[in-house]
Amino acid sequence: MDYFEPKTVGEAVSLLAKYGAEAKIIAGGTDMLVDMKYKEEPGCLINIKKIPGLSSIQENGGSLRIGALTTIRDVETNALVRDKLTVLWESSHQFASLQIRNTATIGGNICRASPSGETLAPLLVLEAKGKYVSADGEKTEPFSSLFQGPGKTSLGSKGLLTAIDVPYPAAGSKSVYLKHAVRGAMDIAMVGVAVLVTPDATKNNIQDVRIGLGAVAPTPIRATKTEALLRGIPLSTALIKEAAAMAATESSPIDDQRSSAENRRWIVDALIRRGLTQTWKAATGKEVA
C-alpha cells in the first residue's frame, strides 16, 4: 500500500488524480481503520490530517464555516453551533462515544455517506453546502446532490471536501434531532430524525418546515412531500398524525440486524410526531391543539 501525508489541498488533489479509484482518503480514521482491518487495504492511502487550516469553525455572515477536519467533539463543544445550530449540536452530542468524537471528523462523517451518519440528516435540514476541490477546480454544492447511495458520494475518488457552510436557520425557528437506538452511547441509529420548524409572525401557521430522515433509505433524505403538506397552515393534532404517516411512507428502510423495515417505519412515524410537537411548542410557546 502506498501512503502519503500531503501538506496542501493541491497536493492531495494531485494524488487523487494520479491514483483514481485505488486511492482512499483517511482523516480521523475511525471508519477507515475498521475497513482496512476487516475488508481490504486500498492501493493508496492519503492521510489529509497534515493539511493546515481545515479544522476551524468560523462565523461568516449568517452562516458557520466548518473545516472538514474539525472533530465531532470540536463541533459539539463550539458555542455558536450549540446556540445557532441546535439540531447539529444534538446530533454531535449523541455521536458514538467521547473517544470517537475526539477523533472522527465532520468531513469524514459526510464523505462516508452512511445512511445512518449521525450529522447528515441535520445537515440536510440546515441546507448546508460543501466546498469541494478537485483537479477541475473548486465548487460549492448542496449536500442534496452529494449522497448517491450507501458509502457513495458524487465526489467518488475525484475530489476533496475542504469545508462546509451551514446557514443559520431563520430567526424564531426551532430544531431537534431525535435518535432511536437500543443503547444510548456507541450505537448506530435505527432511525434518526431531524426537524426544523419556523412559525410565521402570528405564530399560528407553519411558515417553513424541514424534515430529514436518517437510516431509513439508501441515503439520508428530506421528507419533501411531508414538508409540502405542512407549509403555510396551522399545526394541529390531526395534521401531525397525517404528516407522520406520510413521512413513514416517504422512507424506504431495509430489514437488518438493528431493526425490521416495518419497525423502522413505525419509529419514523413516532419520532416525527414527537419532533413536530416539541419544535412547535418551543417555537410558539403553544401546545398543539
Partner: protein, 158 residues
C-alpha cells in the same frame, strides 16, 4: 513501505518504524511492548484500547500509528508516579471497581482524562466520560463510585 514514527510516550521520546496501515494499538502493544493498553473489539466500540492523545482520550485501535508522529501519548503505564498509584487507580481498588480487570486500563485512562479537565464532574460528565467504555462484568455502579471517590480525593474533599 515502512514509516519512522517519532513520538512521546509517557514523557519519553520514542522512535520506531511501522507499516502505514498499522493501528496505533498494534504499534503500542507489538512494537513498543506497552501491553497495558488492551486489544478487545478492535473496531472502536469498547474502549479497552483507550489512551490519552494530546490531552484527549481516544481509541488507539482506530487510529493510525502514523498519527503518533509528533504526538504526546499517555498509556496506562504512564499513569502512576513510580510506585505511587494515581488517585484514579487507588479509588478503583478501594471501591472494588475491578472484576476481571480487562476493561480497567481503558476506564482508568478515560477517568484520568476527565479528572485532568475537572475535579468537580457532574453525573452527566461522568456518564459521558465513560460512555465509550464497556465492562462485560457489568460492574458499573462501583466504577461510578470509584470515579466520584477519585474526584473527591483529587480535590481534597475527603
Amino acid at each position: 513501505m515502512s514509516l519512522t514514527i517519532n513520538t512521546t510516550i509517557n514523557g519519553k521520546s520514542v522512535s520506531a518504524s511501522a507499516e502505514p496501515s498499522t493501528s496505533l494499538l498494534d504499534f503500542l502493544r507489538d512494537t513498543l511492548e506497552f501491553k497495558g493498553t488492551k486489544l478487545c473489539c478492535n473496531t472502536g466500540e469498547c474502549g479497552a484500547c483507550s489512551i490519552i492523545y494530546n490531552g484527549k482520550p481516544i481509541n488507539s485501535c482506530v487510529t493510525l500509528a502514523a498519527d503518533a508522529n509528533g504526538a504526546e501519548i499517555t498509556t496506562i503505564e504512564g499513569v502512576a508516579d513510580g510506585d505511587k498509584l494515581h488517585p484514579v487507580q487507588q479509588a478503583f481498588i478501594d471501591t472494588g471497581a475491578v472484576q476481571c480487570g480487562y476493561c480497567t486500563p481503558g476506564y482508568i485512562i478515560s477517568v484520568k482524562a476527565l479528572l485532568d479537565r475537572t475535579t468537580k464532574p457532574t453525573a452527566e460528565d461522568i456518564e459521558e466520560a465513560v460512555s465509550g467504555n464497556i465492562c462485560r462484568c457489568t460492574g458499573y455502579t462501583k466504577i461510578v463510585d470509584a470515579i466520584q471517590l477519585a474526584a473527591d480525593r483529587m480535590a481534597g474533599r475527603v
